[in-house]
Amino acid sequence: MKIHIKNGHLIDPKNGIDAKQDIYIAAGKIAGIGKSPEGFTANQTIDATNLVVIPGLVDLSARLREPGFEHKATLESEMQAAAAGGVTSLACPPDTDPVLDEPGLVEMLKHRAKQLNQAHVYPLGALTHQLAGIEITEMCELNEAGCVGFSQADIAIKDTQVLWRAMQYAATFGFTVWLRPEEPYLAKDGVAHDGEVAARLGLKGIPAAAETLAIASILRIAKETGANVHLCRLSTAEGVDMVRAAKKTGQKVTCDVSANHLHLTDFDIGYFDANVHLKPPARSQRDKTALSNGLADGTIDAICSDHTPVDDDAKLYPFAEAEAGATGLELLLPLTLKWADDNKLSLSDAVKHITQSPANILGIAAGDLSINASADICVFDAKQYWKIEPKALLSQGKNTPFLGMELAGKVRYTLVNGHVVHG
């Protein structure tokens, strides 16, 4: 299928393009930028006048809820949501049911995803069996089955010796370990940032120290074992400082932030809005500013959606009992655009954080529009506002703190491997 996307504003951070350029697709790959390749006749033309054309988004964390949580969401619905959000590659955490700690399960997931012919799915394997933090998994087998890294999802390993050995083993083969830094005892039963808002609302707080203590341990162990580590969902100002300092010493570490945490603070809990019950919790204004600055100066490498759909009833509980998490695949782009706009950053800077950088972290060939790259493309209207409401979302998860808001950035077309999956 030969496709010509014409008249769009092309932004490709990797190749330094930020201009009006046409793009030509053939055999599922990018065949030409700007100039039509020899003998190219389009079967389909997409008019991208007044639209922006970027590499398909690469989302470092999206829970697809299969296997095991089909009442919350299914692969079908969430892949459609990804397409609607312009996401063409995504990594999913291993906290499915059963946990992704067996190669067979990983293969099945990859197979299911491939059949749907939408976004590329890159599973993260469990670092320990059942995520229980006791025995390490068959990382080589899992890697062969398609795991791009190993993670503990939201369940910290309590036994430091196990954490050390798991990271050491991963380091043997150069596998990246993905960890959300949170000291489990300090965070136990906590549901909000430990500060004035939690004090006022009578909610158990998770101190910032829970994150910084964990970052300190993880970074130290990574240094000693030589493991590549990716820190997931930073939420504290001090955490950003620690990563900045570590990077300065030359330590190989990457990290991401959830799009939610670029826009929310603990004050947004308001009158106990369960949609703002997140992991990690939304913290103070100071933390939010530091996260933003961290992205801008490169300390934080990427923005992810942390897509966590829950079923309708799961939020209809008193705050602490409501299930944590927010739906996000369809909000990654508009929230990133809003962040860039609020901080007076260029569209190109914004796009880098959700395309090229996450692709580098995953170690996949994606996130750019180089010639012969897979034609994974997102075409969107940067100026079109749309209202975030249940009927506007394709994900089965309608749980978002941004409900009722109007955000700019509507995806018009999404292509994966050169065929249109949305639009």
């Binding site: 004035e196 939690a198 106990f272």
Partner: protein
């Protein structure tokens, strides 16, 4: 964000938390409560205000005392009262909370008095009830116990009318206490100039000063020259979760004895929301002594709750 407790024209629709209520509404409740104090002393201890209305006590967390005072208050207003003790075993999911509410609405309940172990439960219920139904928070987790806060300031106002000159000390487990939070909000809203919290660090929430209080860890220092001492109940769990070593040491450092009471003003009053742990947070001599207003608190509690229900029912 529109305060869910108030209607568009600023009238009280639900009583969920003292935090966020204007002074005028607090004063309206307190002034109305004055009129109800006398009702208890009459031959017929009832007024017909809520005749024909149904008040439903929805207690997801057990409490005989609070439930009984709300029942008495509702009955003195001539309301019909239903009490539902939903034990925690049968109520394990929020669906039950909202389903229960829907069922009760179908039975024409006009007012819900709700107690729940989780902070924010009353807010959640208020968000989901039909528009004509009023919700009173009888205690949600650690967050708020507004009628207790109100009856406490009513009591203070009765004995110490010059609120603008008072020094008040709240002693004990502020971290876990919804009563303390409500008391603090009521006192700050009514303009009490100095509010002290006296507790070990393990029993204070982070950033508690931001609620408008001065922190003391030394009880003797904290009690100097105070006019009102509000004691909080200490629960056994605090010893088993490494926040305190023992109730004996707690009594020694933070228990109110006659000797410590003498550091406060000679006419200082002693309050406690009940039930008391004698010998843990308070000495019997003080609890039963002349400066204690703990029993009047209970009487005033009924009048204040009658005031709250009347005002809500009329809005």
């Amino acid at each position: 964000m529109q305060n869910p407790q108030l209607t568009n024209d600023g009238k009280l629709k639900h009583l969920l938390s003292i935090d966020g209520l204007p002074k005028s509404i607090l004063n309206q409740i307190l002034d109305t409560a004055e009129s109800f104090v006398g009702v208890a002393e009459r031959e017929v201890k009832k007024v017909p205000l809520l005749r024909g209305k149904t008040v439903c006590n929805l207690f997801f967390e057990n409490s005989t005392r609070t439930r009984t005072t709300f029942e008495i208050a509702a009955k003195r207003l001539s309301a019909d009262v239903i009490t539902l003790n939903v034990s925690t075993s049968s109520q394990s999911k929020g669906e039950t909370i909202l389903d229960t509410i829907d069922n009760l609405t179908a039975m024409h309940a006009d007012m819900f008095v709700v107690r729940h172990a989780q902070s924010g439960a009353a807010h959640m219920i208020a968000k989901h009830v039909a528009p004509h139904i009023h919700v009173i928070n009888a205690g949600d987790g650690r967050h708020a116990h507004p009628t207790q806060g109100l009856l406490d300031v009513f009591t203070i106002r009765h004995y110490k009318p010059e609120m603008h000159n008072l020094r008040v000390a709240i002693v004990g487990d502020v971290l876990h206490s919804r009563v303390a939070r409500s008391e603090i909000h009521a006192l700050t809203t009514l303009g009490v100039p100095e509010i002290r919290v006296i507790a070990p660090k393990t029993l204070l929430p982070k950033d508690v000063e931001k609620l408008g209080v001065h922190v003391y860890h030394d009880m003797r220092e904290g009690l100097k020259n105070v006019d009102v001492i509000m004691m909080l109940r200490l629960q056994n769990e605090r010893m088993t979760s490494a926040m305190l070593p023992s109730s004996q040491e707690y009594f020694k450092t933070y228990g109110l004895t006659s000797e410590k009471l003498a550091l406060a003003k000679p006419d200082a009053i002693v309050m406690h929301p009940g039930p008391m742990n004698r010998g843990v947070e308070i000495d019997s001599a003080v609890a039963d002594g002349t400066q204690s207003v703990i029993l009047p608190q209970v009487t005033y509690g009924i009048a204040v709750r009658m005031a709250v229900m009347s005002i809500l029912a009329g809005n």
